[in-house]
């Protein structure tokens, strides 16, 4: 008795509704871009500079009173938000305070911190600072740059690797799928305004890795079937390959999602945004392997003379099995 996510043999015509699915992806990409420009990302201090203080108290948190206590300090834009998490103890109340970067100051001065602490302790003596992080505008600017470079470098490296291992059409398809995943992730972060910090960049790159993993497995099967069935129509070869890999695609997605959901629920609020990005990434990454990467390669068309004789072995020159 086995748990089977998909029947032994499937014959789904994945490519048939490509206009709808690809159109949906394109629409979501456009919406994400719009969301990014309209709502913007809720940048953390890593990218914007400023100070973030995490406080814990045994008494319930009253954001309004806290704000009143801090406002005489004239710290400029201060935002206070309470954090809720199922992993907290009953008398554990957590909030974060965000203070914008001061003009001309690289990081928050100990005096300001002491003032904030005294002011808040006046409201609630049980309150403690569990973490204080302060990033100067100089560094945050550089971090933004580094993050963008990291993402572009990853895409470039992948483009080259797939081009070497497959054909340029596959490389384009894979990179288009990755751009799709990144855009959609940025889009959802813009819409629901989760804090976007350095860890999310790490998540983005992991999504790139995961989605690619998926895409490459599909491509690998397409390549194999293109050699095996030289006469079959391209559309059939793609559908066959997608059906053959479907079971694996779902198995891997489900195991990864199981692990990620456990982390999302139980891993605490500090990494929840990070884990959310990855869950989202696994979903869109699985989708894009089929409906973006494969569709683009199919549209671009591929050469069918692979593996013929000793002549042109384009695309398989570095493959492990001929």
């Amino acid at each position: 008795m086995r748990l089977k996510l998909v029947p032994e043999k499937t014959d789904i015509n994945f490519m048939a509704p490509w206009r709808i699915t690809f159109g949906l992806s394109a629409l979501l990409m456009v919406l994400s871009t719009v969301a990014f420009f309209v709502f913007g990302l809720n940048f953390g201090i890593d990218f914007q500079g400023g100070t973030s203080i995490r406080i814990e108290a045994t008494q319930p948190i009253d954001v309004g009173t806290y704000r009143d206590a801090i406002s005489p300090l004239n710290l400029g834009d201060v935002s206070i938000s309470e954090v809720f998490d199922p992993t907290y103890a009953a008398d554990q109340n957590v909030a974060t305070i965000r203070i914008q970067a001061m003009d001309g100051e690289e990081s928050v001065s100990p005096e300001v911190l002491a003032q904030v602490e005294t002011a808040l302790n006046g409201v609630d003596p049980t309150l403690t600072f569990t973490s204080v992080e302060s990033v100067g505008p100089k560094v945050s600017g550089e971090l933004v740059q580094e993050a963008i470079i990291a993402v572009i470098a990853a895409l470039g490296a992948v483009l080259v690797y797939i081009w070497l291992r497959f054909e340029w059409q596959f490389a384009l398809g894979a990179v288009a799928a990755l751009v799709h995943d990144i855009l959609l992730t940025i889009g959802i972060f813009s819409v629901i305004q989760i804090k976007f910090d350095l860890a999310i960049i790490a998540a983005l790159l992991t999504i790139v890795g995961y989605s690619l993993n998926d895409t490459v497995v599909v491509f690998d099967r397409v390549r194999e079937n293109l050699i095996k069935f030289k006469k079959r129509a391209l559309l059939d070869v793609f559908n066959l390959s997608l059906n053959e890999t479907l079971s694996r695609t779902l198995m891997t997605s489900v195991t990864t999602l199981i692990a990620l959901v456990a982390l999302f629920v139980l891993g605490g609020d500090v990494i929840r945004g990070f884990v959310f990005a990855m869950i989202w990434g696994v979903l869109v990454g699985t989708w894009s392997s089929v409906y973006v990467a494969a569709v683009i390669v199919k549209r671009l068309g591929v050469r069918r003379d692979w593996g013929q004789g000793n002549g042109d072995k384009a695309g398989t020159q570095f493959a492990t099995d001929p």
Binding site: K4, P110, T130, V139, A154, A199, D220, T252, A262, T320
Partner: protein, 554 residues
Amino acid sequence: MLQISLWKRALIVLLSLAALVYATPNLFYERVERHNDAVLAMAAGQDTPQLRAERSLWPDWAPSYLVNLGLDLRGGAQLLAEVSVTDVYADRIDALWPEVRDLLLAERATVGGVRRMPSDDLGVMRVAVSNPDGLDQALSVVQSLSRPMQTLTGIGQQDLEITLDQGQIRITLSEAERLATDDRTMAQSLEIIRRRVDEVGTREPTILRQGADRILIQVPGIGSADELKALIGTTARLTFNPVIGTTSDAGQTAGLRQVIYPSAEDQGLFYILEQTPVVTGEQLVDAQPAFDQNGRPAVSFRFNPSGARAFGLYTAENIGSPFAIVLDSQVVSAPVIQSSIPGGSGIITGRFSVEESTNLAVLLRAGALPARMTFLEERTIGPELGQDSIDAGKIAALVAMALVLIFMVLSYGMFGVIANVALLFNIAMIFAILSVIGGTLTLPGIAGIVLTIGMAVDANVLIFERIREELRTARGTARAIELGYEKAMSAIVDANITTFITASILFALGSGPVRGFAITLGLGIVTSVFTALFVARLILVTWYERRRPKTITI
């Protein structure tokens, strides 16, 4: 054809067992840590019954490598400091003045009187001579001070740039010399920060140079970034300067080559001092916390021979006049010289608390920082938050693991069990390697491991799915298994290499916690491929050899 040669089997088993053995200490983290601390303390010559008891918490013969816990898990403070490397240029140029003056005084007949002129840029010295006809002569004399660079990168270049500018001689460091100076300043700053942090005796601080002029300092276990800043942010530059007078007006313009510093004790009192010190803290050989005659906390110090000589000479010549002890641009005290002090030792009094005098002694002993530092980034993580994160991460990882194990058995039966064993070895390997290479586990790193748990089964899934397919067409079960491995290979290789590429880029370009994540992700990829292709296969082949099943179901 499912043969694996004997030596290969031995190697796989050996590596897997080694992984288990080296990962084990992490299960007893606290005990092993206390054992390690005790071993270190005993190696340093201490020996108490308590230390012996701590040491016996973990056997000496067993591996005792542990994964370092990052700041976000252990709590502690992190600072990113920028060193004002240009500060040092001014000091270097200032130090040249006596030499320049002596050279030109020897040529008084042609150049006339010599004066040092004020300069906007502190890294530039301007010198004027009273006889304009002697200017060229003066220039060529001063130019003899410039020497060819000795460093590898500066070969063929001079260390000073000496030119004529608006009828004055302009002396500054050459570009190559500046670069060399920057390197020295950074090396010195790193060394001094390290010494200061070590004096406090915390566990495994990280002190790293980042880029041209930055230093990253991570100290686990310290209370707050402010504490750390007080320790390393102080320049602790000690000088002894002749006093010219006092004033109550901070805005008063100082005379040529003079400076005005505030008094540390009296608000509103300012001292006018000669800019060139008699002796500096660099000439100290020792500093200890002490008490003065009135029982107030003070710091006693001792000069090296050259410092002692200069100090002795100066005090002998200036009995009755005050001189100032200046610490970081503040006059700590300005006693009147009662008698010549030939021995080269003395005492600094001021309004210190016992703690301050102890700290000052530490700072003076470790040496002054060559340049000021600005802090660009500071982070403090409380130990409770770190503990919460570890607890949450642990539970999440265990639950994730249990769910994945169950799901695999439900999906693949016996083969799922094999994949699960491989997965357990995989996790052990990640911890073993992290421990042995001294890697750091951060909160995103735990997420990386959890993600690996999910993805690690991928290679096995690829193989099992392939074997399933082959079972439908191939002749015989052995052939199907063999073909499954063979044909899944290319997908496994491609998929993992591409993921590994992104992990490497993360590692190369990321910093801090992101890097911790990249390490666990990258390691996870390598170990998961190893466990799928070797460990799981070995188990599978061993099982197959014993049973020789006619049919198999996956």
